[in-house]
């Protein structure tokens, strides 16, 4: 409670936004007025008391699909982002700390991965592997972690040469201590900022995959897929596509508002790097 009181308005708004999305995702089964796949009305009906957000291209209730879509979209994007950051940060810090051939092997492998266009890479891998949720998350995380690796290594290389890291080495500290206790807290600011951005990209990437038939399989709902499903309606003046699109934007903004606040908190108080 104390923490919320000390928060700036922007962070409170972000927190509220994330809370609303999470709440509707978790309680979708209870709250949703209709079923996820249930065709209840005409195609692209405008919003009314019966269908609060109208209906989609097949006549399913948009509000219900938004709630069910939140489940998959938020869960998969968040899981993929967290996983990609854990993997990317660990490997990049390891490369920065070890230098020499470890750094070379990891960095060149990373370059190799980045040289392949992400979407094509994902298509090939997902087409070859069985269509399961955890494989989708893993592939998304792996592809995204290459970007995290580049940033993480650049940040860590700057920190590794600081005297306090040298002091830790002279003390005889192990690699894990140096990575997690000396480097990580000081690299957190730029990495958090990146996380806010990467999370939004993950939502979009998932929707691209869904569109190509390799992400979330219809008729299961996800926001990105819903944008694609309803995009043709825009030509006819039907705003159905804008609702999931707006939701993606709102989620991304909410996450970034929270990240900004965390960034300020971690950088200003402790005299570390980052903006004031």
């Amino acid at each position: 409670m104390q923490m919320i009181k000390a928060m700036p308005w922007s962070a409170r708004i972000g927190l509220l936004g994330v809370f609303i999305f999470l709440f509707s995702a978790v309680f979708a089964d209870v709250l949703a007025p209709y079923g996820e796949r249930e065709i209840v009305g005409d195609v692209w009906e405008p919003s009314s008391a019966k269908y609060l957000m109208g209906t989609d291209n097949l006549g399913r209730d948009l509000l219900s699909r938004m709630m069910y879509g939140a489940q998959t979209t938020i869960f998969i994007s968040a899981a993929a982002s967290v996983l990609s950051f854990s993997l990317g940060i660990f490997l990049s810090f390891l490369a920065a700390v070890m230098r020499g051939w470890t750094d070379q092997v990891l960095s060149r492998l990373n370059d190799l991965m980045m040289a392949i266009p992400t979407l094509i890479f994902a298509l090939v891998v997902l087409a070859a592997l069985p269509q399961e949720l955890w494989i989708l998350v893993l592939v998304m995380a792996l592809i995204d972690s290459t970007r995290v690796f580049r940033l993480g290594r650049a940040v860590a290389v700057d920190i590794v040469v600081m005297d306090y890291v040298e002091a830790a080495r002279l003390r005889g500290e192990g690699r894990m201590w140096i990575i997690f206790r000396e480097i990580l807290p000081n690299a957190l600011s730029p990495l958090l900022a990146e996380f806010g951005l990467r999370f939004a990209f993950a939502v979009l990437f998932l929707s691209s995959l869904s569109f190509l038939g390799l992400g979330i399989q219809p008729p299961e709902a996800d926001w990105g897929g819903m944008v694609k499903d309803n995009k043709d309606g825009i030509i006819f003046g039907v705003p159905a596509a804008l609702i999931p699109g707006g939701a993606i934007a709102a989620l991304a903004i909410s996450v970034n508002l929270i990240v900004d606040w965390l960034l300020n908190r971690t950088s200003s108080l402790k005299g570390g790097r980052g903006d004031v």
Partner: protein, 544 residues
């Protein structure tokens, strides 16, 4: 209008500070400072960091740096109040009538342009003279400033000349437009003593030749005594003492000035028995990569419970020697013996006990501590790492150590950013003491600190040595510090050991050439020292 060139009255400067976790507030950083400067005279502004020296210097150019606001007082330059003048009027004065020489010439020059072009740029821009005339004058100034090949110097790029030459080039830049006033902001602080004396002499000569007036800002009283006519001592933005240089140096009135004048008394007398070595290095050769050899056949030893000072200018191999001893840079050949056993060249091959026995204190305490760890974590880590202390026990020992460094328990939950420079260095000392080491390598631990703070740190180190019998390998370029604390001295020059022995022996004649030069280059708190030192040098050169 009088012959007063600059007349500053009741200057008041405020700045907004942003303390962490609090609302921003305005603080006064200069409280009503007044001074006058006549044509052709030099006024020295002296004080510790944060005293407001540079801020006042820049305010004399009607400039407020980084959020500083000039909120009161007047500054009459040639009878015109420049604080009240329009921006364009002030802009016209800057770079033509008032010029500025910054501390770090390396950072102040654009590396992509030739020196000559940069030096005449402002002069030409302000329409003071044509480009050809300005170039001619620059050549003349290079000559006055004692730069080599004055005709071709302007053709070079900043990276092609040495630090001392670059500083002189910046002085030439300031003098080029024949200004009435130059503000020198610590022009020699970043230079080695042996270079400093040349630059100092060049600046002094140039000021005399051109008849310009100057504000000379520095924290080194001995330096300012050589070039100024008047001195103003500042502290916390207030004038402590203001008067002719002879009066300030010889009969200081205020307690603070007296402390400044008398700084670096002998803290410790030399130990008599220097025969039982704790650390011995023999015939060390070391190189970075395969080609760049930086240490050539270095040998010395350090007795238990004593202090060995390693002296030399930057690039002499002092710090590299420390890196070899700590194992960060394995030597190419030679041997390091510590407490009766050989130390493995590579850090990774050394047992934990060796690491514990050998601790290090750094020059920049800021970056030697993780900014995201509290004092408790910083001092506590060696305790749990080496001795396995936990919980209450660990906390008790941390508090003991904090008491030992004269700081106390209240600092335990602070972050490094919440400590002053001196306190940071103390915490670093506590961190190395926590390991209960036999040897602490001190890499210029006081050179980034103000003289009085540095003095306290040195005293603390010496009293800790008495208490714990720890030995110090003290790396420094400051002879005064060496005189104060060393038992034995190793003088290094270009990667070689040129002189080694007990302090009394090293600091008394007959000297080798380099030690002689080094000792004679250290500014002394004495009027006319610069002239004496220079004429000594000239006589020697003539004699050789």
């Amino acid at each position: 209008m009088s012959d007063k060139l600059l007349n500053v009255k009741n200057l008041r400067i405020e700045a907004t500070v942003y303390p962490p976790g609090e609302t921003p507030k305005d603080i006064v950083i200069v409280h009503g400072v007044s001074f006058t400067l006549e044509k052709g005279k030099v006024l020295g502004l002296i004080g510790e960091s944060g005293a407001g020296k540079s801020t006042i210097g820049l305010a004399s150019m009607a400039y407020g740096r980084g959020g500083c606001r000039i909120t009161g007082g007047t500054a009459h330059f040639n009878g015109e109040d420049i604080l009240a003048s329009s921006k364009s009027r002030v802009r016209g004065l800057r770079g033509s009538k008032i010029c500025y020489v910054a501390q770090s010439a390396a950072a102040a020059f654009n590396p992509a342009h030739r020196l000559g072009d940069q030096i005449v740029e402002a002069t030409v821009l302000h329409g003071v003279s044509s480009r050809a005339e300005a170039m001619e004058r620059a050549d003349h100034l290079f000559d006055i400033l004692g730069l080599p090949n004055p005709k071709e110097f302007g053709q070079r790029y900043p990276h092609q000349v040495s630090g001392g030459q670059l500083q002189r080039a910046m002085t030439a830049m300031a003098l080029c437009s024949q200004p009435d006033l130059i503000v020198f902001d610590e022009p020699t602080t970043a230079l080695d003593v042996t270079t400093q004396i040349d630059v100092l002499a060049a600046i002094k000569h140039a000021i005399e030749e051109t008849g310009t007036a100057a504000l000379y800002i520095t924290h080194d009283l001995a330096v300012v005594a050589q070039v100024s006519d008047d001195i103003m001592v500042l502290r916390h933005g207030k004038t402590i003492e203001y008067g002719p240089v002879a009066q300030i140096i010889e009969t200081p009135q205020e307690e603070y000035t007296r402390e400044l004048v008398s700084v670096r008394s002998n803290i410790k007398s030399e130990a008599e028995d220097q025969s039982k070595p704790l650390l011995t290095i023999e015939n060390i050769d070391a190189a970075y990569g395969n080609s760049l050899q930086v240490l050539f056949d270095v040998s010395f030893h350090l007795p238990k419970g004593q202090t060995l000072a390693v002296v030399g200018e930057s690039g002499s191999g002092k710090s590299t020697t420390a890196r070899v001893i700590t194992g960060l840079l394995p030597q190419r050949s030679g041997r390091v013996t510590f407490d009766g056993r050989d130390l493995a060249p590579k850090l990774a091959d050394r047992p934990r006990e060796d690491l514990r026995d050998l601790q290090m204190i750094y020059q920049m305490a800021d970056v030697a501590m993780n900014p995201r760890h509290t004092v408790r974590d910083i001092i506590g880590r060696p305790l749990s790492f080496y001795f396995g202390l936990r919980g209450r026990e660990k906390e008790k020992r941390v508090i003991e150590l904090l008491d030992q460094i004269e700081m106390g328990e209240s600092f335990i939950d602070r972050y490094p950013a919440e400590l002053s420079g001196g306190q940071k260095q103390r915490v670093c000392i506590a961190r190395s003491l926590a390991a209960d080491p036999k040897l602490i390598i001190c890499d210029e631990p006081t050179s980034a600190l103000d003289p009085l703070v540095a003095e306290d740190i040195l005293k603390l180190l010496m009293s800790l040595q008495k208490e714990t019998q720890v030995s110090y390998l003290f790396i420094t370029h400051d002879i005064a510090t060496v005189r104060a604390i060393a038992d034995s001295i190793a003088v290094m020059y270009q990667g070689r050991l040129v002189r080694f022995g007990p302090k009394s022996q090293v600091l008394s004649p007959p000297f080798d050439d380099y030690t002689d030069l080094l000792l004679k280059s250290v500014p002394e708190m004495e009027l006319g020292w610069l002239e004496k030192a220079l004429s000594d040098r000239k006589m020697e050169a003539a004699g050789n």
